[in-house]
Subunit: 137 residues, 2 copies
Amino acid sequence: MNHKEIIAYLKQKNLRVTPQRVAIYEAICKLNNHPTAENIISFIQVNHPNISIGTVYKVLDSLVENNLIQKVKTENGSMRYDSHLSKHHHLYCIETEKIEDYEDSELDKLINNYFKKKKIKNFQIKDIKLQITGNFK
Amino acid sequence: MNHKEIIAYLKQKNLRVTPQRVAIYEAICKLNNHPTAENIISFIQVNHPNISIGTVYKVLDSLVENNLIQKVKTENGSMRYDSHLSKHHHLYCIETEKIEDYEDSELDKLINNYFKKKKIKNFQIKDIKLQITGNFK
DNA sequence: CTGCGTGCAAATGGTTTGCACTACG
DNA sequence: CGTAGTGCAAACCATTTGCACGCAG
């Protein structure tokens, strides 16, 4: 998604278009693979030296609220952000702490079918996410 | 697991038996359902008024390292502890933030079989955990 | 113009750390 | 007795908040 498209997208979502918002959203798109707030900040500070950390967090929150991005929590507690919106699971690399998206509609179907037959008692399922840990080869 | 058994268990794991350790491990067993460090501290402080927060965290770390308990991270980033060691998944209640264990060897078998056939390219799976979110009825 | 968005700096909160002291084995 | 464990308080670090100013609509 390029600059113009981002601006159009923000407008369409009824968000005020500010240079900071555009930059932050652009950063998340370019920094593929779940950047932390820190990653985003240092990426942006190249072109926006006076953007403030507080602002970044505020913008991230509003992007999450308006469903432009998703928040992913990690093993060590810090948050990561993902511009990839469709339902997906995550691969966690034990060694490098890298996180990658994993989409697999066949697997989703399998699991959904399983829970269609076998309900969990006293619990109504809303969503199922897999955390797959291992190593990239 | 009662007091005596806990002491025996710690010994068997080559851990020094101190009143603090016993109390903390006992607290986690009794406070079924994934207490936070804070939950544990306030539970223990009834009988051990001068136990220190730092100590609790240190003991929790050593119990985790020695495989007496497991660490579970939550949505909001704080850690929870679980004396339940066998492989299991988690049910997250959206409304109450309650976490419950979910064991289902049939499901595990299904998923393992699936990934035996369909490998993820460039990734070697070590473990798979499901986060099932929804509501308790 | 009006109010949302921003920058700054201080506050927060859960967790960690350093160090002198204590007590388990 | 020697060393691992403890208590305390200060440090950490990612994130949040409050407030005055600035800019988008």
